[in-house]
Amino acid sequence: MGRPFRSVSALTPSTPVLRQRAHGLQGPAFVRWGLIGATLLLLGVFLVVPLVAVFTFAFQKGWAAYGASLVRPASLAAMRLTLLAAVIAVPLNLVFGLAAAWLIARYRFRGRSLLLTLIDLPFSVSPVIAGLIFVLLFGRQGWFGAWLLDHDVRVIFAVPGIVLATVFVTFPYVVREVLPVMEAQGSDEEEAALTLGASGWRTFWSVTLPKVKWGVLYGVILCNARAMGEFGAVSVVSGHVRGVTTTLPLHAEILYNEYDLAGAFAVASLLTLLALVTLVVKKFVEWRSQPS
């Protein structure tokens, strides 16, 4: 709910030069060090230790057990399903994100602010409700339930439901990251390209896209991280059929509930690596998009 990350364009350089301050402008040193200490303690307890814990728990039975719990058929099936959901959801939302960002950044038209609000909807809906709406549509008692049953198509408690829920929860990520970048860039260069005789498509590919590529990359990375890590929405529509409708997060849950702590955290460690990669890419994109 709400916008998860600060968009890249809104980032000010995160290391402004600190001015040397005359005394009288800076509080006493013990206050400074007290505040820094409190922050280190807080972030240590809440962020660093849990991060270390994931890998400690994952490797508590050694490398061999770690490897073994990842190559089990059920684990491999969960990886395949997770990748499948991401491979479908990310490109769909990427194409949409580019189209919508172009539309909203470049034109003023009736319904523009309504559109902006509606695009944010999936952020403000609880993941559980995101799953629920697909059950209401495609579940056995749902609007299309009878029709689907007659034609022997399964959506809920099957792979299509998981993909649909994933597309829904990751819907706003790309447009939300690309839009501010595109707005900040203005359309002078596009207009210049048009006066030079370039077609609309040509202008988009060779002028617009290169300008917003870092925003696009960041949006895609965020979209992908959420697609692979989504739990609530997918949990509602999955039915938890092991090896068939379990994504990696659901698989971790099942293992945890079966008291296979090392196995659960082995799976969790993969997802944690994904999160760390996301943070590194974010840092990289910030660094690239800073005016040097």
């Binding site: 040397q20 005359a22 005394h23 009288g24 402008l25």
Partner: protein, 355 residues
């Protein structure tokens, strides 16, 4: 309440070039003193050192004879107007002005009276309830003045107070500041890069260059008797002529002007000539005086009431001459013409100065 600065130095990075070094001057009590110089000359740093927003590496700051070099800014009793105004944007105009009084725990009745008095003084009494975001640039500027003056500061420090405003508002506010000073007689230090501003409203000018004081004197003195080639070129838009000492005079080709007495024969000289200190004439034959040279008109630029004439002298130096429009029309020169230039006055420096 004079401000005295002695041998002040401040460098921002160890080993880097100092922002301010060996600066000494006095700002007389009750007068407006300008700190004038190009950007990067160290004027603002100097102001911040006096305000207590920076602590000097060396030297002393005395306000009213009291050494306050290391006194915390809160206790100095200085009124500062920042270039960006630095208004508290979540407070109304009235709350901004009252802030310093509240910190000083001035009783409510007295505080309110003082705030109203200040608002009247800056002619903003009807806007006391507005937020700074709802004011124009000139109005914000006046709020900043009222806020600084409300605490009855011992001295008033102004950091390019009109820098962010457009020309017309600048001129209005300059007049206003002059009137305000007449009223308060507060010792004022004004940082500016605008020589017009400095010469017009201050009684004392400190010209700065590269972190040092180039000259400290009255506006007339600085204008008429610049102490260095830098001051001569920075103030008054003078052209530079290069030559050498010959027969006790500064000779630039055929043209020569009086040189300082101590000048030795053959030494290089620079003569600074202001645009209105040259008179142009058409007749070439009448080259009587020594302070006369022939020049070719390279370019003409009409600027409102006068015309700028760019002359190339035989020595290769270029001089700019300003001719009133009526005089120019009577003269009737066009680009490419040769004219006679009579140098009425010039400031001469002997030696290899580089500015």
């Amino acid at each position: 309440m004079s401000i005295v600065v002695e041998q002040l130095a401040r460098r921002f990075s160890p080993g880097g070039s100092p922002a301010v070094s060996e600066v000494s001057f006095q700002a007389p009590a009750g007068a407006i003193t300008s700190l004038l110089g190009p950007s990067g000359a160290g004027k603002s740093t100097l102001l911040r050192l006096i305000a207590g927003l920076e602590i000097p590496d060396e030297g002393r700051v005395l306000i009213d004879g009291v050494d306050c070099t290391t006194m915390p800014v809160q206790q100095r009793g200085v009124g500062v107007v920042f270039q960006s105004y630095a208004l508290f944007k979540h407070m109304t105009v009235r709350q901004n002005v009252a802030f310093g009084l509240e910190i000083r725990r001035v009783p409510k009745a007295e505080r309110e009276a003082r705030v109203e008095e200040m608002l009247r003084m800056v002619q903003l009494e009807h806007l006391g309830g507005r937020y700074p975001g709802q004011l124009s640039g000139g109005q914000r500027q006046r709020v900043a003045f009222a806020r600084a003056l409300a605490i009855r500061p011992r001295v008033l420090l102004l950091d390019e107070p009109f820098g962010a405003l457009d020309t017309r508002v600048r001129e209005e506010l300059r007049e206003w500041l002059h009137a305000l000073h007449e009223q308060t007689r507060l010792t004022t230090l004004l940082v500016t890069h605008d020589q017009q501003e400095a010469l017009e409203i201050s009684q004392h000018v400190v010209v700065m260059s590269e972190g040092r004081v180039a000259q400290a004197a009255s506006p007339a003195e600085v204008y008429d008797r610049p102490a260095s080639p830098f001051v001569a070129s920075f103030i008054g838009g003078a052209s530079v002529l290069h030559g050498e000492v010959r027969a006790g005079r500064a000779a630039m080709g055929a043209l020569s002007v009086a040189a300082p007495v101590a000048a030795r024969e053959g030494e290089p000289v620079q003569a600074f000539v202001r645009p209105h200190d040259i008179k142009l004439a058409r007749s070439l034959s009448d080259a009587a005086g020594a302070s006369t040279a022939l020049g070719r008109v390279e370019r003409l630029k009409s600027v409102g009431g006068y015309v700028k004439v760019f002359l190339r002298l035989p020595t290769g130096d270029e001089v700019t001459v300003e001719v009133p429009r009526s005089e120019f029309d009577a003269l009737g020169v066009v680009e490419g013409d040769s004219v006679r230039a009579d140098v009425r006055s010039a400031t001469v420096f002997v030696g290899d100065y580089s500015i």
